[in-house]
Amino acid sequence: MTTAQPLIQARGLVKRFGDFTAVDGIDVEVRSGEAFGFLGPNGAGKSSTMRMVGCISPPTAGELRILGMDPVRDGPAIRARLGVCPQLDNLDPELTVRENLTTYARYFGIPRRVARARAAELLDFVQLTERADSRVDPLSGGMKRRLTIARALVNEPEIVLLDEPTTGLDPQARHLVWERLFRLKQQGVTLVLTTHYMDEAEQLCDRLVVMDGGRIVAEGSPRALIQRHSTREVVELRFAAESQEPFAGKLDGLGERVEVLPDRILLYVHDGDAAVAEVGALGLTPANVLVRRSSLEDVFLHLTGRTLVD
């Protein structure tokens, strides 16, 4: 295999459940050593994509090559080189924390002695050594998540698939997980993750795609996406009134885009301070003004809309 070949390559990849299309013809390439993100609201098709890449869900149509192999024919050989952290923890409830790692290692054919050594290392890596002999049930959500991540590393995988690795975790646990993932990346492991946390995507991903309704609606580095799909700065105005709507009309033409939310108005502009001055010149006096840099969240909401999908 040449180094130029992508580790994961999908062309026109489709996943249908009955007549419902969860993944609707996506093209993706993940290169060695990068951290690649799937960003998207619930139901966008992120997990369905991850399961196909993890070779536990046969694609309905399209082309998929992983590590140069065909996931349907070479499933075991590919899975031997992947680490998977699924969206929902599926740890073995009848085993202890340590046994969850050693047993999992055995599924990969790793010798017992090596499995024990690796389990000890990984428990240390995710800071669970003190709970090594506890069962899984009494662990907190964050601990279970860390254990699932440790389990995904037990076969020293070349690619690690992480489906919403930090959803539901408290800030401390999230930062710990981020820090560990960052270390893995520095060791040269290819990371593929899904998330709907923008800060997570901005922190971890070199490149990402935004998915919505089974399709890819944008792709690039976080910075490039912001440049392409948003302005440099955003001004948030809050007027002391029942409705913000009447004020929006007066702001028309200010900046590139005006967005009205129930509680505030967003002005997408190049220069925030200049825009605030213009608002003042119009004789408007918002109760609250905030100028901030555009974030991936603005891109995300712009591309996938603000309607709640659940």
Binding site: F17, R51, G54, I56, S57, P58, G75, P76, A77, R79, A80, L82, V84, P86, N90, L91, D92, P93, E94, L95, E99, T102, T103, Y104, R106, Y107, F108, G109, R151, N155
Partner: protein, 271 residues
Amino acid sequence: MSVVSLVLPRLVDVSAASRRSASVTERNVAALRSVYWLLLVSGFVEPLLYLLSIGVGVGALIGDIPVPGGEVVTYAAFVAPAMLASSAMSGALSETTFNFFGKIKYMKLYDGVIATPVRPFEIALGELAWAMLRGSTYSAAFLAVMVLMDLTTTARALVAFPAAVLVGFAFGALGMATATFMRSWQDFDLMGSAQFTLFLFSGTFVPAESYPTVLRWLVEVTPLYRAVHLIRGISVGVDGWAWVLDVLYLLAALGLGLLIASRRMGGLLYK
């Protein structure tokens, strides 16, 4: 050279597959906890109680019984091999239906396993091997009791053991296939009734020859009848070459059960 390059990959594949199956069995050994031992003991005590109450107790009223080989044996010696066969059956079934169903449906145990190189067929084989570790222990203990009670000879018991293991494997595989069709725990009541019917009518307590012809044919195609027939032939007297049919029947049940179970598991897990 060409033979080596053709055969070697297959051999490597087979050895990798059996290693992966073994890792599934190993997981169950690791999960074994003290409470489980009680369950293990109960599986042995039940057939023993049947043997003592019906075989010995009722047997005192019935007297001796002719077996197909032409010999005449005590009723206890007639019933004992049937108890062995049905304990091999129920030992295998309880692990491969109830526990296996729980692992698939509620524990979601294999959702994690399929993300590794282990395949559904290997999971099925590994679970079956585990069930048989348990079932075979019952069989060995029960055979020891039969020898002690003078219901068979040591030599016959040694031959009957692998036969009992085969019986367990066959029922285990059938049970596993059945478990993949189960929707909820309620379905197990149905299976329990089916199992008890088999237990009563498979030539267990009464020779199948004493049933009306149609019923007898019906009985003779059931798997437990074949199992009882095989083990009784070994422990008290062989009925010609009919045992070959029993063995082939049980092997076919084993193969079919495993095939259906792994196909169905693949469908349930690889969504």
